[in-house]
Amino acid sequence: MGLIKKVPAYIEKFPGGGIVTTSLNYVFSQSQASSLWYLLFGTACCAIELMAAGASRYDFDRLGMIFRASPRQADLIIAAGTITKKMAPRLRLLYDQMAQPRYVIAMGGCTVKGGPFYYDSYAVEKGIDHIVPVDVYIPGCPPRPESLYEGCLKLQQKVKGLKIQDWS
């Protein structure tokens, strides 16, 4: 993975090398954005909306997004549901097991800032950006499948704007 990041630096030295790099950027980022496979990570009520978005009326498969059960085969975590303090190290473990490039969507109020459990709760982790770096936040309790769609499309825009040198 580290080797391919150095390729554009060599290609650009030749005349016309910039065109090759931008075409390669385009192809790679388009193909990544069109097939983001997400890890099944539904903890609470937002998982029902995630399942509804993946079912037949609002279909995730037409965006190319399929659920995978193992983090090794996924490149997106949609953290749907309340994350408690007991669950937080496990979420970090799953995030660390994913191969790069990897993305995180924080779905629902509980993952953004604690949601309805912000007041008077001893066990809820108030926001998952203390644990994993988040790319897209989707508010709602729970967000409708259309909101989740918009979040995924925004993530696709973000993925398409990524250059090969910036793959982290």
Binding site: K85, K86, Y118, Y119, D120, S121, Y122, A123, K126
Partner: protein, 157 residues
């Protein structure tokens, strides 16, 4: 048996150790005055042939501002009877006997009480932590006087 017959039967059987309270619109609520009488009382209501309370619906602790109350909801499946009874105890040295031998469902309820309120349970088989995280060192969260740096209370409106 209806509500008045039930109150009469229990008051008649256990005398002055139990006292019916005025609360409870549907099911009668009793106050057990002697905490050490609890195991015998539970055994008696389970084996009694007119009551046969073999189903422990709920066992919870309440932190009113001054003392703990422990509430038991029991029901009988055969005879269709439900009632509640409660015990009170002060904050210091709060402990109670386990009713696990009588109703095995009390196992998890008592572990939850021990973990979240700090009420000691005597004669319990497996008193281990299972609700809070493994490295929890911040006390008993459900008490009213518990506080932590990231515990935000609802502001007064």
């Amino acid at each position: 048996m209806n509500r008045d017959q039930l109150i009469e039967y229990i008051s008649g059987k256990f005398g002055d150790k139990i006292e019916p309270l005025k609360t409870g619109p549907v099911e009668p609520v009793f106050l057990l005055k002697d905490n050490s009488f609890l195991p015998e009382f539970c055994r008696a209501i389970k084996t009694d042939l007119t009551l046969q309370m073999d189903y422990l619906c709920n066992l919870a602790a309440v932190d009113t501002g001054e003392k703990f109350e422990i509430v038991y909801n029991v029901a009988s499946v055969e005879k269709n009877i439900r009632f509640d009874f409660k015990l009170t105890m002060p904050f210091e040295g709060a402990e109670i006997d386990s009713v696990q031998d009588i109703w095995p469902a009390a196992n998890w309820y008592e572990r939850e009480m021990w973990e979240l309120y700090g009420i000691n349970i005597k004669n319990h088989a497996t008193l281990t932590r299972f609700l809070l995280p493994d490295d929890w060192n911040q006390g008993n969260p459900m008490r009213k006087n518990w506080d932590a740096p990231d515990f935000i209370r609802m502001p007064e409106l």
